[in-house]
Symmetry: C2
Subunit: 208 residues, 2 copies
Amino acid sequence: MLIEKTVSGFIEELASNSPAPGGGSAAALAGSLGAALSIMVCNFTEGKPKFSGVQDEISQIKQKGLALKNDLTDYIDADTNAFDEVMKAYKLPKDTDAEKTLRSEKIQEATIGASLPPLKVAESCVEVLKLSLRVLTIGNPNTACDAAVSGVTAYAGFQGAIFNVKINLSSIKDETFLQNVRDKILVLQDEADKTNQLILDRAREVIG
Amino acid sequence: MLIEKTVSGFIEELASNSPAPGGGSAAALAGSLGAALSIMVCNFTEGKPKFSGVQDEISQIKQKGLALKNDLTDYIDADTNAFDEVMKAYKLPKDTDAEKTLRSEKIQEATIGASLPPLKVAESCVEVLKLSLRVLTIGNPNTACDAAVSGVTAYAGFQGAIFNVKINLSSIKDETFLQNVRDKILVLQDEADKTNQLILDRAREVIG
């Protein structure tokens, strides 16, 4: 598993001349860093009398953050595994017409399968962005910088995941699936861009 | 060392209730992912007859990318170590006037020291952004998505590092140092924003 590699080993693997892991797994990792940093801010706010007015919300944010961190960390491997299925489908025999048809179907199936992990990563990163904005606003100001980095890493995870969804869409033929995903991307992109801008505005106020 | 932890272990450590690692190390890691992905694109372009016209530049980009990846990976730990020095300085005794003066000096020294790793990370991320833009433009189009994710992770690394420089500046008293760093930030921010925008424009053309 990729997440059991060392940090330096993962970076080496990413840089290597093998097609996976690539940008999809890196995007999931960036999102995981964002989730982890929002949790960190909760940990520095939780139980402190100074922030007694926000304890309930902080506790809810922490629970959501933990679930998002776990999901996003799982997607570091899930993205690479889904990509491997596409590579496998392309390697199927194509000597007879029957083989060609089967191969083509399997490539379609695997490519649709490969578009789902980054779509899920993009959705989770939008949720992380919302948490980043809240912890930057109500969390312990000593960790404002960590909250802001939570935001920028989650936004990078979002953007990277969307690139990966789109690259898969370019080889998918199912028009209904394509339209559904394109509609979803528009909604997510708008939400991500707006939340990211609010985080940057708030960071400028708090950090300078 | 943080980079010898597993990826999942690093994420846990980031989320934990200890002040370090925090956003500074996460920013350095985001930058490392960016450098690694630009190198990956070089590896898929190098030695391919189809891209014979760009082999010299790809080879130069790869060399620069490898150096930046190594530097940024080192800064994952260097950032946390420099932050630990600030924490140590704050824990110095402050019972007598002499102790107070010494403690205050050591805090200033350590805080200046802590602003340097993220400043170096920010500079390196700007260099990674330039490489991302070039590999997205001249590299193997099969890895366009990885080139684009290289860009967004490097930009997140840049923004995160700048937050960390600025938070340190707020407790530094040396006016000459402050002015030098503020001037440097302005130049870097402009370069990073412009290169990031060019990467996003190019990604839209290539990926959709």
